[in-house]
Symmetry: C2
């Protein structure tokens, strides 16, 4: 128990070989996922514990990764706050609650996760039983800033003009909304840990659109509250932000166990910025899986070599695996990591 190479790497303990998992490893690039998804809407998949558990297990079996990550969506707790949520194929999420002023924030709730999203905790319990110690299970949540951007923009965005207008022109409304989201995220992640998640990852997908100054003023304080509010115990906390090169020194101050970075910053450079007091996760460019399989070895070795500069390295892509990826190329990557990864003390997967 707790002796998994993934969890040991999170804690900067020696491992038998560099562990690997893949962001969005349960998803559209897998035919076995497509098969289940073909019969169920995306939200049905998220909200039906048996189905969510099944697609969570698929990549563990197919790819031989060293950790599973709960199949869900970062907007599940947002819907529970009272924001109508829908997914249209190819268009991404559509959120149906405009934030025009304080009254719109006041209308949102801080949901009790065991009451409002019990299916998430049930999925975690099913998975813990199913894995029986084979691989550890990662829970996750969006970071407050990223969830806020979805709420205010009503979906994904290119330039985040609605969000910036709220931030800059009605900062008190923005801060009130962020505080409510922060409380929601804390309760949500603690419920996942309570249900059996053995590590949690905080996704701040959109943090990288901010200047470092704005990141420190408008996003970081809320993520800091999240980290402080977690019942961490022995549960590693991972932080991921895309396009994070220039905010990495700020992220370092969060005191998480693992900092996950995107592919733009080489891991040896990232290691200089974050230092030796934290593990690093990442960061092969997801598009590098479009290399011919025989070239993937070289891509993996370059990331591993740079990862040697980190106190501890968990291999991952620098962002989610892309839907058109050939699963055989993902398998080639996992095998290469296990073949070439740093060797240390022998521990179970």
């Amino acid at each position: 128990m707790g002796d998994y190479r993934f969890l040991k790497a999170c804690r900067r303990e020696p491992v038998d070989v560099t562990p690997i998992w893949i962001m969005r490893q349960a998803g559209r690039y897998l035919p076995e996922y497509q098969k289940i998804r073909g019969k169920n809407s995306f939200l049905t998949l998220c909200k039906t514990p048996e189905l969510a558990a099944e697609v969570t297990i698929q990549p563990v079996e197919r790819l031989g990764v060293d950790a599973a990550i709960l199949f869900s969506d970062i907007l599940i707790p947002v819907e529970a706050m009272g924001v109508p949520l829908d997914f249209h194929d190819g268009k991404g999420p559509i959120l149906g609650k405009e934030i025009r002023g304080q009254a719109d924030v006041d209308a949102l709730s801080v949901p009790d996760p065991t009451d409002k999203v019990p299916f998430v905790m049930e999925t975690i319990r099913i998975l813990r039983k199913a894995f029986q110690g084979k691989v550890p299970l990662i829970g996750f949540s969006g970071a407050p800033f990223t969830l806020c951007s979805y709420i205010v923009e009503g979906g994904t965005s290119r330039n985040f003009i609605k969000l910036k207008t709220l931030m800059y022109q009605a900062p008190e409304v923005y801060r009130s909304l962020m505080t409510k989201i922060t409380k929601t995220v804390i309760a949500y992640l603690n419920a996942q840990i309570e249900a059996g998640a053995q590590a949690v990852q905080i996704f701040d997908t959109w943090a990288g659109i901010l200047t470092p100054g704005d990141y420190e003023e408008y996003a970081l304080p809320y993520t800091r509250q999240v980290v402080a509010g977690l019942s961490r115990g022995n549960t590693p906390v991972i932080h991921f932000a895309n396009d994070c090169a220039t905010i990495l020194s700020a992220i370092r101050t969060l005191g998480v166990d693992v900092i996950a970075v995107d592919w733009r910053i080489p891991l040896d450079v990232a290691a200089i910025v974050v230092g030796q007091g934290v593990a690093i996760q990442g960061n092969m460019d997801p598009t590098m899986l479009f290399h011919p399989p025989e070239k993937i070895d070289d891509c993996v070795r370059d990331v591993l070599r740079r990862g040697e500069s980190a106190a501890s390295h968990i291999f991952n892509l620098g962002h989610g695996i892309l839907p058109p990826t050939n699963p055989d190329h993902a398998i080639a990557m996992v095998e290469a990591v296990h073949r070439f990864g740093r060797k240390g003390m022998a521990v179970p997967r």
Copy 2:
């Protein structure tokens, strides 16, 4: 002649005050542009010298910026290479030439700009006469990598999978296409300089999607050929890449006069990376123009203060001005730069 504060700043000579111009300053946020655009398609605007000149002049008169930039589109020379080009409102450019193999590259030409895009050079000549020395005129081109991405993707892209697939799986076809684009860009920029452009900017909008390693392998060598192929004389060359923090040390090796950076990297950090042998242009976050006007002073002063670390600083946004921007906020920014900018030797605007 040549004593403009913008050109002096490009050459790292003392100026009376920090110069400013704005990427996409001729464009949709201006009602006077919308009026002309309402009667003409975007491509008609680009290809009719009198109209292109008129919208180029508008922001100089309205905002009081220190340089004009030719109104055109980076895809104009791509169309001249033989790639059908269309613009649909709200959807961006649509390019109608699939690159499936070497034959598709062979079918493209390296156009003689005076023969195939004479309207660009005519616009430049009209503008030089119209400005009569009031402000200098900047010409521009897309960098080979960015133009290649539009051709291969057929437009804008989110993950550049078609481009990466070509790069990784058919590198010889990719390199053949890049070589043809590079020759096109060199001839195109030299024709602009010959026609009267007093500085040229190379836009590598999408370079920031690459890992630093891929940037150096697949993009930088071609931009280097462009820089080497220019009849530079006394004409400053500016290089802009969006999301450039982690490729900045590679960009530095290009030997351009000015490196323009996006808003993610503070200018004092950028100055450490690029050193004192080059001027820096940038980099206020375009969304900061959604601040109330009274806050824009603070945003400008922060950029100016960091810009003091550079050998020379040309103020600009970190990316193009956004269409929903209030022109009065842009004016407030220009005035703040002229009020607070570094003071040196008195020279004409």
